[in-house]
Chain length 384, copies 2
Amino acid sequence: MFAEKLILRIPGPTPIPPRVQQAMNRPMIGHRSGQFSALFAKVAERLKPYFGTRQDVYILAGSGTSALEMSVVNTVGAGDEVAVLVSGAFGERFAKICERYDIVAHRLNVPWGEAVTADLLSAFLDEHPNVKAVFATYCETSTGVQNPVKELAAVVRAKTDALFIVDAVSCLGAVPCEMDAWGIDIVVTGSQKAFMLPTGLAFLAASERAWNVIENRKPLAFYLDLKAYRKSLAEQTTPYTPAVSLIFGLEEVCNMLEEEGLANIIKRHELMRDMTRAAMTALGIPLMTSDEYGAPTVTSLDPKGAFDSEELRKTLRTKHNVIVAGGQQHLKGKIFRIGHMGFCDPLDVITVVSAIEMSLAQIGVDVPLGEGVKKAQEVLIHHV
Amino acid sequence: MFAEKLILRIPGPTPIPPRVQQAMNRPMIGHRSGQFSALFAKVAERLKPYFGTRQDVYILAGSGTSALEMSVVNTVGAGDEVAVLVSGAFGERFAKICERYDIVAHRLNVPWGEAVTADLLSAFLDEHPNVKAVFATYCETSTGVQNPVKELAAVVRAKTDALFIVDAVSCLGAVPCEMDAWGIDIVVTGSQKAFMLPTGLAFLAASERAWNVIENRKPLAFYLDLKAYRKSLAEQTTPYTPAVSLIFGLEEVCNMLEEEGLANIIKRHELMRDMTRAAMTALGIPLMTSDEYGAPTVTSLDPKGAFDSEELRKTLRTKHNVIVAGGQQHLKGKIFRIGHMGFCDPLDVITVVSAIEMSLAQIGVDVPLGEGVKKAQEVLIHHV
């Protein structure tokens, strides 16, 4: 099989568009040069619409987890109570980060595959009225749940003075996010999902409310000190060495996103989600998430023992050059997850559905060949 | 001027070799795939010789500063006393990181341009016998001083039980480093200097002594938790998302370094240092460092008012497409620094010397055109 035709359909990293790859091949420049400063300030500005904010967007050299930690260490401290909405592995990570700093994390746990609803959060905040921050996950990558952060933000705003902090790593840039209008205080994301870049950058924006807190605290860490990033961005630079080649790529990503337009990008992801869900349902493979909370960027399937997810994934990989993700933590070996985000279009969904059908047949599952493809086609035709 | 012929002679980032750039263009793969794991484990192994260690080398998505902080947060804590050897901006950064965590940092300050000697350290440790760690800078990027870390390690080993922790960001891979033999406990470096990669990766290795400390502490941070990296590396992976495309490039860097051979790489850098120093001396531009402590990777020049360093840099940039670095902090606007590391060879040094001669003439300095080039040539011919 051609290594260059690998079909990467995991929930990040996603394939890199050739023109973005090309941009990253620009000769290296100094990160303290005027040339870099101008580029950096411009791309930071161009990220704002995806956050739905007029606030500045900060760009960090690090993975998504470093930015999750950044949202913690600048806003709360040892002994503070916070609420962490845990609908999967990445919600749990927020809680673990808090606990590393002796922050008291009250977990609102829901079963993996379910969303945290406004009602659940409202009741939880009644139990924990003293929390200084509420940490939520927009798209929970480990389950494919899209939590209703707009509604959750409304609950937080109505009931408490707590900051509302959202991990949007695996969906920002592909889904609506109106940070300012919805009243979200911090939104965090990464480069390797809807932003179609390699891993290695994280982005963060904070509300004026959040800045009022941040400016009056001593941050718990150094590299992740948001005040240092704010001071530097005012001078069009970064406090520590930025990942220059990824910033080259990010400029081209901004071009691509603007050419397509955010409204179209959001529609494309919803379409790919709907195609995937319709196809998997036609094949009789149970979806892990309800239609209401199914993420536009990743779909999780739980065959519940009808076949071996790992055998399916292996066949996809070895016979068709298609990579889908497995489960994390207690779902390892049980479920599989199809990424449909970033540099991915509806025909890519048809391809992966077709490969899943064939692989199922090849591992001996009685599958109606072509039926998933047909349902996906119907959704696509109807949509276009 | 051709943007693609930009001559980047700053102390990092350095130009990227085309074959490394090419490697980074490989199609994206999943970072939790067997393919990535095998690649990752292999490059981590291949980094060991540059550290001079049999211990594992950890690869972090982040800039050099994140790895400096990693060496702090896993080894000491609030109230602990440490010694920080400050010979410039990056030594000072170690102290600032410590103070962020309420660690008591005793600074051994030397004037910028001078090295911390074994005698100075010995006397300092007599004054501060209770330090739990000693933080040093191998090459101080802001001044071009190469501190004698082998001798410093011997002092630490002889006088205390403190860990000896070395920032080797702007020299590792270009200079001798025998971490195990010299008794250094932690060595930290970055990707964008002698390793010829874009910015965005940092590397760290720790001695068995250091691990005995690390394993018995609760780390002060999350993303920088070394125990998590150790646990993951045993499974050929990383705790958080690695910077995949840079790891592709790192594999090709390892190929290049091994083809040249570390002994030859070290000689090449010493030669480039000697050429640069001889040429600048011939032009009457005072070196900021003594011959004994001049770094093989970067040379700092202090015209002491004989001409305007910023005017020189501007002329180099606008008339010759050559970028050299300015000064940092209190030396901003006063000195200039020539990087000669990584993807840089002796003829590149001739080029930059020639451009400096012409630029000096162009800004009205009475400079002996060609004399710097001639001295550099003599050093090169004599050497080869």
